[in-house]
């Protein structure tokens, strides 16, 4: 048996563990194509700073390029640098964590956002999981994701005012929720569509707020 010419991998598993582009190649590709810069604050991993306008394009490239295959969006993270020491750049940042289950590599993309215009393109058309991640980021930081199909609060209740993870939100400011079942009308509509007869009015005992 000659070990000089290894057999071409045929099984999907063998294909999967073939290395993609090395991290250095990946870095140069992104820097060339999307004018990305390396974030010096990330000391353990690779974070690339991209501009807001290029983010969607860069994410599409990361997902679709056959040598990269970043097929998972692990997380979307909002950052408020308001009380960060010696911070000169824009106030907000959004970090996207990508992972490739094919090549087993990871990458972070970071976008800095100005306080006056904290809007960024949604990635829901590329990664469906981004819908909830972006809802959470909007809920807690007030960063608007343009093109999001359903930008509602995810963690805080629907009567909440403000965005609690912003550093200028007083963290002990509590907000009471007065109305039970904010989705009752949707539930009743769904029941009616299935042929049930809905008896109770929408606000039967729904107005049972705190201290009632």
């Amino acid at each position: 048996m000659s070990a000089a010419a290894p057999a071409t991998p045929t099984s999907p598993y063998r294909l999967a563990i073939q290395p993609g582009k090395s991290i250095e190649e990946l870095k140069t590709a992104l820097i060339e194509r999307f004018a990305a810069t390396v974030d010096p604050a990330d000391r353990w991993d690779l974070t690339l700073l991209v501009s807001r306008d290029r983010l969607h394009e860069a994410a599409a490239f990361l997902r679709d390029d056959l040598a990269l295959r970043f097929d998972v969006l692990l997380d979307v993270i909002g950052i408020d640098y308001l009380s960060f020491p010696d911070h000169r750049a824009e106030r907000f940042a959004v970090t996207y964590l990508f992972k490739s289950t094919v090549f087993r590599h990871r990458l972070k993309l970071k976008v800095r956002l100005d306080e006056d215009d904290a809007t960024i393109a949604s990635l829901t058309d590329l990664y469906p999981i981004a819908e909830w991640h972006e809802r959470e980021t909007w809920d807690q930081f007030g960063i608007v994701f343009a093109g999001h199909p359903n930008l509602k609060r995810l963690l805080n209740h629907h009567e909440f005012q403000g965005h609690p993870l912003r550093k200028d939100y007083p963290c002990q400011k509590r907000q009471k929720l007065s109305l039970n079942d904010p989705m009752l009308d949707q539930l009743e509509a769904r029941l009616k569509a299935k042929g049930y007869q809905v008896v109770s009015a929408a606000n039967g005992s729904a107005q049972t707020g705190a201290g009632a």
Binding site: L155, N156, H157, P164, Y169, C171, Q172, K173, R174, Q175, K176, L177, S178, L179, N180, D181, S205, A206, T208, G209, A210, G211, A212
Partner: protein, 184 residues
Amino acid sequence: MTFKPVPSAPAIPEPSLEHAGVFLSSAEALVNWSRRNSLWPFPFGTACCGIEFMGVVSSMYDISRFGAELVRFSPRQADVIIIAGTVTYKQAPVLRRIYDQMCDPKWVIAAGACATSGGFYDCYCTMPGIDEVIPVDIYIAGCPPRPEAFLEGIIQLQKKIDGEKFRDSRAMGAERRATTTVAA
């Protein structure tokens, strides 16, 4: 010469009601006795105290020794609601609604630091104590409380039920006051 004392005649038992198998008591004592010995708890477990409550129910500590083993998962069948865990403001109307669905007479046990005071969650989303939305009968300290503390809370609740008067009871429309605290 000595005289033996004349032995007194044997006492003839008086015909009593007790002897005849009849007992006199107040209706309050009877009703309270039956209520305190068949508490049906509704576990509103939202955090680690709920896990601790499972230990209280199961065989090692065995809450059925106090007649409270029949855990119901419908508020309409429960007598006592045990809030074991953190309650957020988003959850508060849900808790209130479950409490409203319970039939009288009903009692509330706030188990653990979070349910009694919010615990260490001093933040925008956590309710500092469930007594903001529902009246509490027994507070149990601990993070989470030991099963013994849970049982002590049940015993304190039984004592409280024993002392209840119909004219004070919630069934008559009067709001009672929460009083008892169990030390950890």
